[in-house]
């Protein structure tokens, strides 16, 4: 993916850039809002990673508002040291797609960037999701593995749906908490792990190949192999 990073802190920028490049992405970096806006408007990117507060008169929110005003729909991830809930809401309202508070784990940033960059096109509605022999029918809301029906609770269905929409990508615990449960705080316990392991147990029972994998220090991933 081609990613534009607009971040004024040189150390954070270097660290993020290096990490994203090691993960196989191309990264352009702008140290202030004005350069960032210029690059974002004139070139094609898959994801923009913006610091919420930037020097140079154009901060992250202004940058996104301007881009959206021009009809540019490139997904935007905000990085911010501002933790207040209202700030998050402000960022998303301006047209941001996701919000990550500093300090963050790089794995969390990478997972969110990849989730944004490979977002399925919203215009094409899918009714079935498939990973290996696991199938999810979004209309009848049923789960089958190798043709065998698996009973899941509504929340487990949504959890599985989210994992399968991002098959092959890491999904972190906080992402699940936000996207599946719609909580924007950290319960500081392993509640998500318990749900995932319950779901995993249901899916893998009687099969020798596990589908949901734990990615150390990051989160979970569903994949075929």
């Amino acid at each position: 993916m081609r990613i534009l990073l607009v971040e004024d802190d040189a150390e954070v920028a270097r660290f993020v850039r290096k990490g994203l490049m090691e993960a196989g992405h191309t990264v352009e970096h702008a140290p202030n809002g004005r350069d960032g806006l210029f690059m974002a408007a004139s070139e094609q990117f898959d994801v923009l990673v913006l610091d919420r507060m930037l020097p140079g008169g154009v901060d992250g929110v202004r940058l996104v508002e301007t881009l959206r005003g021009q009809g540019n729909r490139t997904p935007v991830l905000f990085l911010s040291a501002l933790n207040a809930v209202d700030e998050r809401v402000k960022g998303l309202k301006a047209g941001g797609d996701d919000y990550l508070t500093k300090p963050f784990a790089f794995a969390e940033l990478l997972a969110r960037v990849e989730a944004l960059g490979r977002r399925p096109a919203a215009e094409v509605p899918t009714t079935r999701l498939k990973v290996a022999d696991l199938e999810l029918d979004l209309l009848s809301r049923t789960v089958t593995r190798a043709g065998k029906k698996i009973d899941v609770q509504p929340r487990e269905f949504r959890l599985l749906e989210h994992l399968m929409r991002h098959a092959g990508q890491v999904v972190t615990r906080t992402m699940l908490l936000e996207k599946v449960w719609d909580y924007h705080f950290d319960p500081q316990t392993n509640v998500i792990d318990v749900h995932v392991s319950r779901l995993r147990h249901k899916l893998d029972k009687g099969f020798d190949k596990p589908l949901i994998h734990t990615v150390r220090n990051a989160g979970y991933m569903i994949r075929a192999d």
């Binding site: 933790n83 207040a84 809930v85 209202d86 508070t101 300090p103 784990a105 609770q153 929340r155 449960w181 909580y183 924007h184 705080f185 950290d186 319960p187 500081q188 316990t189 392993n190 509640v191 318990v194 749900h195 392991s197 319950r198 220090n217």
Partner: protein, 428 residues
């Protein structure tokens, strides 16, 4: 001044009108019956004038006096204007005369006038009176202003002194009230409420800085020590890597505590009341129960749920959810294997109550009173993981919603009494 002009002016106008009327009558008489009749009329008028105020002088063309009580034609009367004012020496007293000059035709000249000494005296009296009245009212005004100012000062001084003491740093001072319940008391009450609020906010800020000073320093020191130790002691890459990972985990924990402290401060500052909206909390609670049900099951605990159809109130959905999550988290943490945690809610006329009851070891009275202070951890809880901030947030969320957090024993007489935490909020 207006009064003076009006009265004194009226006096003058009255004199002039009388002179003019007199003169007109004499001119009429002259045109009908000639000069001798005028002279006779003048004599008549002087005879009937008991106050001796009228002045006349009728001169023949050769300057001979035909009638009148003025001894000579005054030089001022030869000027351009018919109206003149001259000083008059009469009966040994100095007086003033107002005169009107007429040419009667055939060289006859007539002066008609009034001795205005009386009027002048009247005017003098009037001026004096007005002057006295003016100075008296000025004196009263000054006195009144002084009295009013003194009484204002007396009422405002306590407020002023309080404000000055506060700007000098003594935030405990409050405006004393007079119990008269007047405007000043209202001002005082408003100021006191404002000061209470400021003190509360300052307390919050102080709480945050205390928390940073005491409770973040310790884990930072610990993480630093561990990293430094492994830098010297680690003999292979694996142990170094493990130490770095541990260091990152420690930092993450510190960041979480920091976030919790800031969140509590944010809630206590009341800034989030902007996000209040009518909310049905029943589905939110059901979600939380579902989220934690799995954890309880994994620990062989039972989570009993008893929720009403709907639980309508006005509040911040996210904060209330987090408060309930914190309560549930605590309850599950302190409940032994096989124990039961009960999440229930009910709506009465005045309150919405959300209750989390466990059958853990409970909390002694002394601890219960301190529960909710930042970083307070009961001795019994020191070995369990946690920051000691959970109940602080619950308490802050409760007071943001003008509600309260109540703690009591679940089974008052049992060996392990358990703890029931009730979040009581005003109903919508």
């Amino acid at each position: 001044m207006v009064l003076w002009w009006n009265t004194a002016g009226a006096l003058d106008r009255q004199v002039d009108a009388a002179i003019r009327a007199d003169a007109t009558a004499l001119v009429e008489r002259m045109s009908v019956r000639g000069i001798p009749a005028v002279a006779a009329a003048i004599e008549d008028r002087m005879a009937v004038d008991v106050q001796n105020e009228t002045l006349y002088l009728l001169l023949a063309p050769d300057g001979a006096r035909l009638a009148g009580n003025l001894s000579a034609w005054p030089s001022e009367a030869s000027g351009e204007f018919p109206w003149i004012r001259i000083p008059l020496q009469r009966d040994g007293a100095v007086s003033e005369a107002r005169l009107f000059r007429l040419e009667l035709g055939g060289g006859h000249r007539l002066l008609v006038g009034r001795d205005v000494a009386e009027k002048l005296r009247l005017r003098g009296l009037l001026s004096e009176g007005i002057a006295w009245a003016a100075s008296a009212s000025a004196a009263f005004a000054v006195l009144g202003a002084w009295l009013l100012r003194r009484s204002l000062e007396r009422r405002l001084n306590p407020i002023y002194r309080t404000a000055r003491a506060i700007s000098a740093g003594d935030l405990t001072r409050r405006v004393p009230l007079s119990e008269r319940d007047d405007e000043f008391d209202k001002l005082g009450i408003t100021m006191n409420a404002m000061l209470d609020r400021i003190a509360q906010l300052m307390e919050g800020v102080r709480g945050v800085s205390d928390a940073i000073a005491h409770d973040l320093r310790t884990p930072i020191a610990r993480a630093r020590a561990k990293l430094e130790e492994s830098l010297h002691a680690a003999h292979d890459e694996d142990s170094l890597r493990a130490a770095v990972e541990q260091g990152i985990a420690d930092l993450d924990a510190i960041a979480r505590v920091f976030q919790a402290v800031l969140r509590i401060a944010e809630v206590e500052a009341g800034a989030r009341r902007a996000a209040f909206a009518p909310t049905d909390l029943a589905p939110v609670l059901a979600d939380i129960a579902e989220l934690y049900g799995a954890s309880a099951e994994a620990r062989e605990q039972h989570l009993a749920v008893d929720l009403p159809e709907s639980l309508d109130l006005v509040g911040d959905r996210d904060l209330l959810a987090q408060a309930v999550v914190n309560l549930l988290d605590n309850a599950l943490k302190f409940t032994p294997e096989g124990g039961t945690v009960r999440l229930s809610a009910r709506l009465s006329e005045a309150h919405a109550e959300i209750e989390v009851a466990d059958d853990g070891p409970g909390m002694p009275d002394a601890d219960r009173r301190r529960a909710g202070e930042r970083f307070f951890r009961a001795d019994a809880a020191r070995t369990t993981p946690g920051s000691g901030l959970g109940l602080s947030l619950v308490r802050a969320v409760a007071s943001l919603h003008r509600g309260e957090l109540l703690l009591r024993d679940t089974h008052p007489d049992a060996a392990s009494p358990g703890l029931t935490a009730t979040l009581r909020l005003p109903a919508a």
